[in-house]
């Protein structure tokens, strides 16, 4: 293998010289690659890492995900992830998002398409946040008649039955290029 190519198990550095970064592990003596990819040796920060050439479909911290709301509870929503950083994933993993602090009756409802940011992997669960302007509902329908809705400041209004409902809307509501997963 040439200098910057690695497959799982390949030694990429020794632990006295470098710390293991992304996609590496330390076996007690060496930093080894865990995936097929290209290695990067950060001499300034003394970190050796590997860039994975394959996307596993599981989001990492700070990734932006788009998904469908699978369940709504009193203080959180569960979202089934469909896109991670604009890449389609079929892993169908779920993340949870706290909504207690938003003080809204409906932050999102089941089958709404939402955009979230991953904040942590804790206790085997993926945690996400919706509390940024570009995060929130990307696509929804009227819960009364199923008709199209238009955004109002912090709410949506049905164009057919004029029902007004609360949602935490994203800045990109109605502008998104994503496939309308809820349809």
């Amino acid at each position: 293998m040439s200098d910057n190519q690695a497959i799982p198990g390949d030694k990429i550095a020794i632990i006295e010289e470098y710390e293991g970064g992304k996609n590496t592990f330390e076996d007690g003596h060496n930093v080894r690659a865990t995936v097929v990819g290209t290695t990067e040796i950060d001499k300034k920060n003394r970190i050796a890492l590997v860039h994975n050439l394959k996307f596993t479909g599981i989001p990492e911290v700070n990734d932006i995900v788009v998904g469908t709301v699978a369940a709504v509870m009193s203080s959180m929503i569960a979202v089934s992830i469909n896109y991670v950083n604009n890449n389609r994933t079929k892993s169908n993993v779920e993340c949870i998002c706290q909504t207690r602090h938003l003080r809204k009756k409906n932050v999102a409802l089941v089958n709404d398409v939402v955009v979230l940011k991953i904040i942590a992997h804790k206790n085997g669960t993926i945690h996400a946040t919706i509390s940024e302007p570009e995060l929130g509902v990307l696509y929804t329908k009227c819960k009364k008649c199923g008709g199209k809705v238009i955004p109002m400041r912090d709410a949506i209004k049905c164009t057919e039955c004029n029902w007004i409902d609360e949602r935490k809307l994203s800045n990109n509501f109605g502008k998104s290029n994503f496939v309308k997963l809820g349809e």
């Binding site: 394959k54 596993t56 993993v93 085997g124």
Partner: protein
Amino acid sequence: MGGRDSDLVLLDENGIRCDGRKVDETRNISIKAGVLKNANGSAYIEFGDNKILAGVFGPRDVHPKHMSDTDTGIIRCRYHMSPFSVTERKNPAPSRREIEIGKVIKEALRPAVMLEKFPRTAVDVYVEVLQADGGTRCAALDAASVALADAGIPMRDMVSACAAGKVADTIILDVNNEEDQAGQADMPIGYMPNLGKVTLLQLDGVLTPAEFKKCLETGIEGCKQVYEIQKQALKDKFFANGEQ
């Protein structure tokens, strides 16, 4: 064990085996990674006359949900022999042997795959034997390991597998079907070549402690040869033509 087929000469006086190989020679091995479009990772292996396809899906959500583990991911393996893989039609329903080999492959891969990075998810490995000629569990494990790497699933090391055995009181490398049927012992070995750890060790037959040691060393040498071919298969898939 030993000498069931009296007409077959497993090892002649020149140390040449029934298929023309030397005692420390493997069959021809070729591996191709990334052969299936719909799987997350896949590999096809030809190990002598064995032809095996492996596909990997995941990490993905676990169904049924109660099988999921909150602390780590799980790995599941289905080993299946096609009805046309052997000379007489094999019933396609999963047999006791297939279930056992699926379990053995799963347990041989588990030390290598870093499942703790994906809690509550499953990695599914599907192995389909298209043609069998002895040593399918080792060949399947080799293909499954390449398929896992092809899927981008983090692994501590590749798992390479090769069998060693005993025929005519001689330790041989890479046991074929005739040697498996009529030989004195068969020892499939799974090995992580960079870490120097054995993940699979089975023994069918009787060996003395000295023979056991030699058989293990011979098998590990075979695993190292297989590892070079696995490495080349991944290199061809990911780094061919300067493509990265």
